[in-house]
């Protein structure tokens, strides 16, 4: 009523009335009526636009006394109550959920999953969801489910943690784009710890922004992007590449698969500075060729294992793995040694866990036998645990096994590996370090020809989907294949299903590939627009480069073929990774004749030709705790924001590569970015923060530290 009252008083004070004044009075009257209407409908709906929620203020009750169109939901062994609090934020009612014990599970008041209560949505649209709340616990989360026309009701995603507050507070979060095949959603606020949560005055408004007219005058580059071969070469054989928290790139060769360098004990590393196009050499303490690597929580790089020896010509021994381990510090540009691993590790995997520790699996030992130890780096003590300090399965995981961290802390072995056949059985599995179990996962096609395929956790990480692309077999040496396999790790019993075939490209001399020819040595790079760029590769064991690049869209499960191809062959010992400026860098090629291509290529994706880049003008802070919200200001409306973990790649293997969606609380150009409370979705470390404009163009990254 107050706004109407103010208007009336203002007019009373005026001594004289013109025709225009009468018009204003009519407007004032309308305002009064609106104010009165708002008083009659205590939904907290300040906006005139349609609130899509049925019974948003929880005032209409069913015969059991619970709000119409709402239900008590959740699972677990808590002691809990659902009830109504009175008064609510506005009106008589709020929903109150109290947990007095909470050993597991969660509880939430949810919109009813039926056609008359669940809000209808349009695929491709985004919605602002808001609720007023008080909570005594921070163990809260806004969670959404969607009605998939094929699958029925399924989990969609979590949006934000609601911090503790005793006064009514409003939280608004914008959904991601509604996926295709979705006709309704429901959502609510979950409580999963001891405490009391009250919610009221729910609101949901269509916040879809019209896409600006796409303009691109760059010709071919508009759809295919552009490659540029840099006018200078890499000073080292870039077999291992790690994007550092300062935006520079660590290129590690060790002996670089160069017998003379190995014989001379000449091991090399360089740091490349993309901003200046310059390199600096780093004294390299051991042959880090064939090592594993991962960014630690503080942005230093843990390097493990490496090459102790090449095989003997008479086959009396094979490759031998080093036990050495080092930490590379981007601040000092130098390696420092940590304690040795428990076993030699030539081609080990390395995955950072939600607690910041690192698990390394597979590889070859000091005597060239298979390393069966689970090697565990305890970051807080900066050391590798001894064999009996870590859980042991004694399983041999092969070479560079792709072990992707799942949202519950287990590791998904994707079946992507280096050299020879896949592991026995189905070729992929879920490894539970805590329970010490390995459970087979089915569905991977032709698991013995996935040698030097590449697996990625698709954007966003919250969706828990993995794509495995291509592969071959260096032992039997068939034509590499076009297989792709997709798995949804949200399913109760996940299994791979066949994805669309990899597009074909051309071989040396422009010869088109046949319909059955694909590639191994493939690189797949998560881009800030949420797509996956796949590039490079070859047809046979260290031979026959394939010139092909395509864009995979996780939202549509399709490859857009025919992107510009790297003019440099990129087969064995090649890698590609995202730079903080949104371009892709590609390095290395080591064909069977023993040569090494020192050229460096940079790819500018099509999005860089579609208009101005959004600017992140300000970040409230760059230390981000789990479950917190951080404010940025931008110069133009943005579609999405995300964190991308910087690459640490070798041999088509970067299991830590991930794209973490940041649901947005939009208030004009001031955007709250909501970080997940779950460290398994965004393991601690430095991340590239990107925003994407409504024109689909990503910003340049800013660096933030998570955890």
């Amino acid at each position: 009523m107050s706004s109407g009252g103010t208007v009336l008083i203002a007019y009373r004070n005026r001594p004289w009335l013109s025709r225009a004044d009468r018009g204003r009075i009519a407007q004032a009257l309308i305002l009064v009526l609106i104010a009165a209407t708002a008083a009659v409908v205590p939904a907290g709906a300040a906006r005139a636009s349609a609130n899509l929620i049925a019974n948003p203020g929880l005032e209409g009750l069913d015969p059991t006394g619970f709000p119409v169109c709402w239900e008590r939901s959740g699972w677990g062994d808590q002691s809990f109550t659902f009830g109504l609090a009175s008064p609510g934020h506005t009106g008589a009612n709020a929903i109150r959920v109290t947990l007095t014990t909470s050993p597991n599970g969660d509880r939430k008041a949810m919109m009813l999953e039926n056609p008359s209560c669940a809000p209808n949505v349009t695929p491709g649209h985004r919605y602002d969801l808001s609720a007023w709340y008080t909570t005594t616990t921070a163990n809260t989360v806004m969670t959404m489910f969607r009605h998939d026309v094929a699958q029925g009701w399924v989990y969609w995603t979590d949006l934000a943690t609601l911090p503790v507050t005793s006064t009514w507070t409003r939280k608004t979060v914008r959904t991601p784009e509604v996926p295709a095949g979705t006709d309704q959603i429901v959502w609510g606020v979950t409580i999963y710890g001891v405490g009391t949560l009250q919610t009221d005055d729910y609101e949901m408004n269509d916040a879809t922004q019209p896409a600006p007219e796409q303009s691109c005058s760059a010709g071919d580059a508009c759809t295919r992007g552009v490659w540029q071969v840099l006018p200078f070469n890499s000073p080292v054989r870039a077999i291992h590449a790690v994007v550092l928290k300062n935006g520079n790139v660590l290129l590690v060769a060790g002996s670089g698969n160069d017998p003379d360098a190995f014989a001379a004990g000449t091991f090399t590393t360089a740091v490349y500075r993309p901003e200046t196009g310059t390199f600096s050499n780093v004294p390299t303490p051991a042959d880090l060729f064939c090592s594993g690597h991962v960014q630690l929580a503080d942005g230093r790089v843990l390097i493990m294992g490496g090459n102790k020896d090449y095989p003997a010509a008479d086959g009396s021994h094979g490759y031998k793995g080093l036990k050495n381990s080092y930490v590379f510090d981007p601040a000092t540009g130098s390696y420092s040694r940590v304690n040795d691993m428990t076993a030699g590790s030539w081609y080990p995997s390395a995955t950072i866990m939600g607690n910041g520790d690192v698990i390394a699996l597979g590889g070859l030992g000091e005597d060239s036998s298979g390393t069966v130890a689970t090697q565990y780096f305890k970051t807080s003590e900066s050391r590798w645990l001894s064999l009996n300090e870590a859980n042991q399965t004694w399983n041999f995981w092969g070479l560079y096994p792709s072990m992707i961290l799942m949202q519950d802390g287990r590791l998904f072995y994707t079946g992507s590996h280096v050299f020879g056949n896949g592991l026995p059985g189905t070729g992929s599995s879920i490894y539970d370090y805590d329970a010490n179990t390995i459970t087979p996962v089915g569905g991977l096609q032709n698991k013995d020809q996935r040698d030097q395929s590449m697996s990625v956790l698709l954007p966003p990480a919250q969706d828990q989907k993995v794509l495995t692309i291509g592969g071959g077999n260096i032992d039997s040496n068939p034509d590499a294949n076009r297989l792709t396999d997709l798995i949804d790790l949200k399913r109760a019993d996940p299994a791979y299903t066949a994805g669309p075939p990899l597009p074909t490209g051309t071989l040396t001399g422009g010869v088109p590939q046949t319909s059955t020819q694909g590639k191994m040595y493939v690189s797949a790079v998560l881009l800030p627009d949420g797509k996956v760029f796949e590039t490079g590769g070859g047809l046979h064991n260290r031979a026959d480069p394939v010139y092909e690049a395509s864009m995979y869209d996780p939202a549509t499960n399709t490859f857009t073929p025919g992107l510009a191809t790297d003019p440099v062959p990129r087969t064995y010992h090649s890698s590609a990774f995202l730079l903080p400026d949104g371009r892709v860098m590609s390095v290395g090629d080591n064909p069977g004749n023993g040569s090494f291509d020192m050229r460096l290529s940079i790819y500018s994706p099509p999005y860089l030709f579609h208009g101005a880049r959004p600017q992140i003008l300000h970040i409230s802070e760059n230390e981000w705790a789990y479950g917190s919200t951080h404010t940025i200001t931008v110069d133009d409306p943005i579609l999405r924001a995300e964190l991308i973990r910087p690459g640490a790649v070798t041999h088509s293997s970067d299991p830590n590569q991930r794209f973490v969606d940041l649901p947005m609380s939009v208030n004009g150009d001031t955007i709250g970015l909501n970080l997940t409370s779950n460290p398994n979705i965004a393991p601690p470390g430095w991340y590239m923060l990107f925003v994407v404009g409504t024109n689909g163009v990503p910003s340049v990254a800013r660096w933030v530290h998570v955890g």
Binding site: A36, E59, G65, N139, P311, N391, N477
Partner: protein, 172 residues
């Protein structure tokens, strides 16, 4: 005086509206149950598949999963515990049988990289198996030549018969 009539009308509308709001609110208050609704049986489809956590064994090695200790506490949490979904929790396949601690090294072929290190420098790669259709010494040698192999030494034994003249250099 027309304006006074308008103002009066507006005031009446506002009063009526306010009265209506009070009546509506009172009506709703009357409907509000005085007691808290009892905890219901859960029937909605939004729950994840749930299986009880396995019993913990002996001395605990480091847990790689973030704990959810805050949820077990009796005191409300100020910073959130990780919200973890129970996905991928109903596999039809059982876990692999546990392995025993190995008593012998796990043998891996010396030429694990698919390269026949009988030939070339230690980092060259004459394939153990050539691509389809590449057969015989002549076929292999022309394939190697086409792929940039020159002065290919026989470093071990000439197992693929590429050094017909036995001079220690293959395909010459």
């Amino acid at each position: 005086m027309r304006i006074r009539r308008v103002l009066t009308l507006a005031g009446v509308v506002a009063l009526v509206a306010a009265a209506a709001a009070v009546l509506v609110t009172l009506g709703r208050a009357a409907l509000t149950p005085s007691s808290v609704a009892a905890a219901p049986a859960v029937t909605d489809s939004t729950w994840p598949y749930y299986s009880p956590a396995p019993a913990e064994s002996g001395s605990p090695p480091p847990a790689a999963r973030p704990g959810r200790t805050a949820t077990a506490s009796a005191v409300p949490a100020v910073s959130p515990a990780p919200f973890v979904q129970h996905f991928a929790d109903g596999p039809t396949a059982g876990p692999q049988p546990m392995r025993r601690s190995p008593t012998a090294p796990l043998k891996v072929p010396a030429f694990v990289d698919g390269c026949d290190h009988n030939y070339g420098t230690r980092t060259q790669c004459v394939p153990l198996a050539f691509p389809d259709g590449v057969t015989g010494a002549a076929g292999k040698c022309s394939w190697l030549a086409a792929h940039g192999f020159t002065g290919l030494i026989v470093a071990g034994r000439d197992v693929q018969g590429l050094d017909a003249d036995g001079d220690g250099t293959a395909c010459d």
